[in-house]
C-alpha cells in the first residue's frame, strides 16, 4: 500500500503556481527525494504533505487515509496527521533541554512518564545523543541539533518522516557522514521518508527514488541511476553534472526487450545509442554523453558499438584525481574526463569513443 499519494496537487500563491499539478506515489518504507533548484516547489510540496500549507487543488492521502482534498474542502491540520518532520533550521526549541525537546511529542500525547523516559532514551540512543539528554538545547553544535531533531521526529513512531534540507546547514564532511548514517537508520527502521534537497549528490546517495522538479512541475521520477543515466529530457540530463550534448539525425529506431529504444544516428559521425522514448527516423535527437564515460582510443582494443570522434586537443587541465580535456571535433567541442596519468597535449590529434550503453538520446 502506498504510504503517500499525491493526486494532481497544485499550490497557488496569488496567481503564480508554486506547484503545478503534481502526481506522486511513495511506497511504504521507501526513501523518496524531491530534488530541484531553489524555487522549484519542492519545499512547498513537502509542506503540503505536512499540512503546513493547504493545497489549492488535488488530493493528498497518507497511509490510505485522505488528509486533504481541495475539491471537498477537506483538510486535516498538521498536528493530526501523525507525521515526523525535520526542519532545515532544525527548530530545536531553545528554552528546553535535549530531553524535553524529544519528549515533547509524547507529552502532547499524554504518555506516562515512565514510557516517555524509555522512548526518549531509545530515540536518543538511536542517534547516539543519549549522553546529552540534560544539555540545554542552545549548547549543541549544528550536527548535534540535527540529531536531536531526527530523534524528536522519530520518537512517536510517525507514519511518515518528512525532511526539509536537513543537511544543508552542516559542513561538507559532516554532511556526507550524517547522510549515510541517516540512510542506514532509515533502512533499519523501515520508515517511509520524503526528503527535500537541492544537492544532487545527496539525492543520489540516499534515495530509493528521486523526483526531479523544476518550476513547480515534476519532470521525472525514477531511481538515482535512471535519472542520471536515462533522463527523459534535456532539462533532467543537464541538472546533473555538465554532460556533452550532440545533435544528430535519427536513422533507425528499434524497440528493445527491456522497453528502451535503440537508435542509429548520423550527425556527421555515426553511432548507436539508447533512448527512453520512440524517436521517428528523420527526426532530430540530442545525444547526451557524460564526460566521465568517454575514453581515449588506444592501440587496437576492440570497442563494442557506441560512437567515436576524431579531434584536436584544445585544453588539458590536471585536477589531481583526473584530467579534464576539451577536444575540438566535427560534432563540436567535447569535454571528457580522463585518467590523470594519460596526458594528451594541446594540438595533438586524438580519437575518443563512448560505449553504446553510456550514450543516451533525448528529443531535441
Amino acid at each position: 500500500m502506498a504510504a503517500i499519494v499525491l493526486e494532481s496537487i497544485s499550490k497557488y500563491f496569488g496567481t503564480a503556481a508554486a506547484v503545478d499539478n503534481a502526481n506522486l506515489e511513495v511506497e511504504t518504507g521507501e526513501f523518496v527525494t524531491l530534488l530541484g533548484p531553489s524555487g522549484c516547489g519542492k519545499t512547498t510540496t513537502l509542506r503540503m504533505v505536512a499540512g503546513l500549507e493547504q493545497n489549492s487543488t488535488g488530493r493528498i492521502s497518507i497511509g490510505g487515509e485522505v488528509v486533504s482534498d481541495a475539491a471537498q474542502g477537506f483538510f486535516i491540520p498538521p498536528e493530526r496527521r501523525q507525521l515526523g518532520m525535520v526542519f532545515q533550521s532544525y527548530a530545536i526549541w531553545p528554552h528546553m533541554t535535549v530531553f524535553d525537546n524529544v519528549a515533547y511529542p509524547l507529552r502532547i500525547r499524554r504518555k506516562s512518564s515512565q514510557e516517555i523516559k524509555d522512548r526518549v532514551t531509545n530515540a536518543l540512543r538511536l542517534v547516539e545523543m543519549e549522553r546529552f539528554a540534560d544539555r540545554p538545547a542552545p549548547a549543541l553544535s549544528g550536527g548535534q541539533q540535527q540529531r536531536v531533531a531526527i530523534a524528536r521526529a522519530l520518537v512517536f513512531e510517525p507514519r511518515v518522516l518528512l525532511l526539509d534540507e536537513p543537511l544543508s546547514n552542516l559542513d561538507a564532511r559532516l554532511r556526507t557522514q550524517t547522510g549515510d548514517e541517516f540512510r542506514q537508520l532509515q533502512k533499519r527502521l523501515g520508515i517511509t521518508s520524503l526528503y527535500v534537497t537541492h544537492d544532487q549528490g545527496e539525492a543520489m546517495a540516499l534515495s530509493d527514488r528521486v523526483v526531479v522538479m523544476s518550476l513547480g512541475k515534476i519532470l521525472q521520477v525514477g531511481s538515482p541511476e535512471d535519472i542520471y543515466r536515462r533522463p527523459h529530457s534535456r532539462e533532467v540530463a543537464a541538472f546533473f553534472g555538465s554532460p556533452n550534448f550532440l545533435e544528430a539525425e535519427v536513422k533507425d529506431c528499434r524497440r528493445e526487450e527491456n522497453g528502451s529504444y535503440r537508435l542509429d544516428l548520423d550527425g556527421g559521425w555515426k553511432g548507436l545509442c539508447h533512448a527512453s522514448g520512440e524517436l521517428a527516423p528523420g527526426s532530430k535527437a540530442l545525444v547526451m554523453v557524460r564526460p566521465e564515460n568517454m575514453y581515449l582510443k588506444s592501440g587496437d582494443r576492440v570497442y563494442g558499438g557506441g560512437m567515436s570522434w576524431n579531434g584536436i586537443v584544445k585544453e588539458s587541465i590536471f585536477r589531481g584525481a583526473n584530467r579534464s580535456v576539451s577536444i575540438d571535433t566535427a560534432a563540436g567541442l567535447l569535454h571528457i574526463e580522463l585518467n590523470a596519468l594519460s596526458n594528451p597535449r594541446p594540438g595533438e590529434n586524438i580519437e575518443i569513443f563512448a560505449a553504446e550503453n553510456s550514450a543516451w538520446a533525448v528529443p531535441a
Binding site: P78, E79, P105, I108, A153
Partner: protein, 587 residues
C-alpha cells in the same frame, strides 16, 4: 574577529614596508585627536547626566533652596520618612503595576492580531494602533478630563441621555482614571516592542511543534509565549519604570482626588506650598532614583543569559492564521482601540473648541471665539515658537550627540568608550521631574555669571539629557546593521576616515537618524515634568502654557491649542512613516 584575520599578517608587512617616521607620527597624531574627542564627549555627557545627579545628592543634604546659603543636614531624608509618603510609594508602584499588566495583555493580543492573523488592512491598523503613543499625554489627559468629568463629562451626559439615569457612571478623577489614561500610552508602547518579536520569530519553531501533534493553542502556550518570555519580561519592566516616572496622568486625575504618587508629590512640594520645600523634594527625587536603580538591576538579573535567539535571518514570512469570519471581530477590536484612544479624545478637543463653555453642548453655544482668543494670545505664540525652536534645535542636538556616542561605543575599540556609553545611558533612569530638579540645583551652583537658568537653554539642556539614551539606542542599532566590510572596503579603495563617514556611514544610516530625530522632536514637544520646573517667564513651552490655561479653567482654549499640536503630531508621524518605508525598500 576581523582584527585577527585581516590584521595579523598583512598589518605587520605594511608596518615593515613603511618608513620609520610614518609609523611613529601617524598613530600618535591619530591618538591625540581621538583622545580629544573622547574627553569632549565625557565632559558633555558628564555635564548632562552626572553633574545634575551629583547636585541632586548635594541638594538633598542642603537645608535651603538652590543658590542660597545654608547648612548640611539629613532633614530632607528624615522628613520623607513618614506614613503619607509610604502610601505615596504604594500608590506609585501599585498604579504602575495595575496599568502594566492589562496593557501587556492587550499589547500581546493586538500584536498577535497584526503580526499573525489575516485581519484585513493590518498595515493600516498598525499605524492607527501606534498613533496614541505619539500624542502628547497632556492632550489626552485634558480630553479625558472633559470626557469623563463626573458632572459635565460628555460620556456621562450621553449615558444619562440614553438610559435616563441620574448618576454618572464614569469618574476619571480616581485610581481607575489614572490607570485608564496610562494604559493608552503603555499599550502602544508595548505593542511596538512585541509586534517585532512576533514577526522575527523563526516560524519553523512553531511548525515543528504542530508536526509533533500540538494544536495551535497549545503551540502558542508552550512554544511561542515561552520563547517570547524574556522579551516580554523586559517590556514589562520598561513599562513599569515608565509608569513610575509618569507625571501627567496622576497630576490630572490623581491630584484632584487626593491620590498622590512620587512625581506629583515632588511637584506639589515645590509648586503648591507656601514656601517651596526643595530639600524635601530633592530627597524624594533621590529616593525615586534608588527605586529605579533597583528595578533596572532586577531587569538585568532577570535577563541574564535568558535571551533566546529565535531569529534565523531566513526570509520566511511568519505563520499567518486564517481567522475566517472572525477576522472581522479582530478588525473591529483594533478599530475600537483606535476609537477609544484617539477618536474620542480628539473628538472631544474638536467639540470643546467650538462651544462657548465646556460641558454645555447646545446649538446656541457654538462659537469660534476661542480660536480668536488663542490667536490673540501673545503668550501662546511665544510658547509655540519656543517649542518649535527647542524641538528643531534640541532634536538635532540629541541626534548628533547620539550618533557620535553610538559610533564611538559600538564601532571603535577606543579606550573610554564604555564610560561614554554608560554616561549616555544614565538619564534613562532619571524621570523628567528628577532631572529637572537636578538641573535646578546644577544651574544655581554654576560658578560665575553663566546665566542659563531662566533661559530656554536650560530647557534645551534638560531635553538633550532626556533624549540621549534613546538617540544612542536608535543609532546603535542602525550601525549594528551595517557590516564593517562596508567601511573597510571604502578605506581600502582610497577614501579617508571622514570621506568614509560621510559617503558610507551617514549615507546608509541617515534614515535611522531621521526617524530618531522625529522621535526626539515628539519627546520634546510632549515633555512636561522637567519643563514645568525649569521654565520661567519668556521661556514657556506649549505643554506648560496648556497646563496653566487648564488650571485657570480655560478648557476651551486648551482644546484649540491641543488641536494645533495634534496636527503637528499627525504631520510628523506621516513623514516618519514615509521615511521608514523608503528605508525598507532601499536596505
Amino acid at each position: 574577529m576581523t582584527d585577527n584575520t585581516a590584521g595579523a599578517l598583512p598589518g605587520r608587512n605594511i608596518a615593515a614596508l613603511g618608513s620609520a617616521s610614518a609609523v611613529q607620527t601617524w598613530p600618535s597624531r591619530y591618538l591625540s585627536g581621538k583622545n580629544v574627542l573622547v574627553a569632549t564627549l565625557i565632559v558633555i555627557l558628564g555635564f548632562l547626566a552626572v553633574y545634575p545627579l551629583a547636585m541632586l545628592f548635594y541638594g538633598s543634604l542642603h537645608s535651603t533652596p538652590p543658590g542660597m546659603a545654608g547648612e548640611f543636614n539629613l532633614n530632607g531624608y528624615r522628613s520623607i520618612m513618614n506614613w503619607t509618603n509610604f502610601v505615596v510609594l504604594l500608590n506609585t508602584i501599585g498604579i504602575s503595576l495595575a496599568k502594566t499588566i492589562p496593557s501587556l495583555a492587550l499589547a500581546v493580543l493586538l500584536a498577535w492580531i497584526i503580526a499573525r492573523t489575516d485581519t484585513p488592512w493590518r498595515d493600516k491598523l498598525e499605524v492607527l494602533i501606534t498613533l496614541p503613543f505619539f500624542i502628547p499625554p497632556i492632550l489626552t489627559a485634558m480630553a479625558w478630563g472633559m470626557l469623563g468629568n463626573p458632572q459635565v463629562g460628555l460620556l456621562n451626559q450621553v449615558w444619562k441621555w440614553m438610559t435616563g439615569a441620574t448618576v454618572s457612571p464614569i469618574n476619571v478623577y480616581s485610581y481607575g482614571g489614572i490607570i485608564w489614561h496610562m494604559m493608552q500610552y503603555s499599550t502602544p508602547f508595548l505593542f511596538l516592542f512585541i509586534v517585532d518579536i512576533f514577526r522575527a520569530m523563526d516560524p519553523s519553531l512553531e511548525e515543528s511543534s504542530r508536526m509533533c501533534g500540538a494544536s495551535r493553542w497549545r503551540t502558542f502556550r508552550n512554544i511561542t509565549l515561552i520563547l517570547m518570555l524574556p522579551a516580554l519580561t523586559n517590556s514589562f519592566i520598561l513599562s513599569l519604570i515608565r509608569g513610575i516616572e509618569s507625571f501627567e496622568s496622576p497630576l490630572f486625575f490623581g491630584t484632584p482626588a487626593k491620590i498622590e504618587v512620587i512625581t506629583t508629590e515632588i511637584y506639589n512640594s515645590i509648586n503648591h506650598r507656601a514656601t517651596p520645600d526643595y530639600q524635601y523634594a530633592t530627597a524624594l527625587s533621590f529616593a525615586i532614583m534608588v527605586l529605579m536603580f533597583v528595578l533596572v538591576v532586577w531587569q538585568w538579573w532577570l535577563l541574564k543569559g535568558r535571551t533566546f535567539t529565535t531569529v534565523t535571518g531566513k526570509g520566511y514570512s511568519p505563520n499567518i492564521m486564517k481567522l475566517g469570519p472572525w477576522k472581522w471581530v479582530t478588525f473591529g477590536f483594533c478599530i475600537l482601540f483606535f476609537i477609544v484612544t484617539v477618536v474620542l479624545p480628539v473628538g472631544q478637543l474638536i467639540i470643546g473648541s467650538f462651544f462657548k463653555f465646556f460641558g454645555f453642548y447646545s446649538w446656541d453655544m457654538l462659537t469660534t471665539e476661542h480660536y480668536v482668543a488663542v490667536a490673540n494670545n501673545a503668550e501662546v505664540w511665544r510658547a509655540f515658537f519656543n517649542t518649535m525652536l527647542l524641538g528643531l534645535l534640541g532634536a538635532t542636538a540629541v541626534m548628533t550627540l547620539g550618533s557620535i556616542v553610538a559610533y564611538v561605543s559600538i564601532r571603535t575599540k577606543w579606550r573610554g568608550r564604555r564610560l561614554i556609553d554608560a554616561l549616555a545611558w544614565l538619564p534613562w533612569m532619571m524621570p523628567g521631574m528628577v532631572l529637572g530638579i537636578g538641573f535646578l540645583w546644577a544651574f544655581a551652583m554654576l560658578p560665575g555669571p553663566i546665566p542659563i537658568y531662566g533661559t530656554i537653554w536650560a530647557l534645551m539642556l534638560a531635553y538633550v539629557a532626556l533624549g540621549t539614551p534613546i538617540s544612542v539606542r536608535v543609532m546603535s542599532s542602525a550601525y549594528a546593521q551595517l557590516a564593517y566590510d562596508l567601511e573597510e572596503c571604502s578605506r581600502v579603495h582610497g577614501a579617508t576616515f571622514f570621506q568614509t563617514m560621510w559617503r558610507i556611514l551617514i549615507a546608509l544610516a541617515w534614515p535611522s537618524f531621521a526617524v530618531g530625530w522625529v522621535l526626539a522632536f515628539f519627546g520634546i514637544m510632549r515633555e512636561l515634568s522637567a519643563s514645568i520646573l525649569l521654565y520661567s517667564v519668556g521661556s514657556e513651552v506649549l505643554s506648560v502654557v496648556l497646563l496653566r490655561l487648564w488650571s485657570n479653567g480655560l478648557a476651551e482654549q486648551v482644546s484649540v491649542i491641543g488641536l494645533m499640536m495634534m496636527l503637528l503630531v499627525i504631520l510628523f508621524r506621516w513623514v516618519q512613516l514615509k521615511l521608514i518605508k523608503s528605508r525598507i525598500s532601499t536596505l
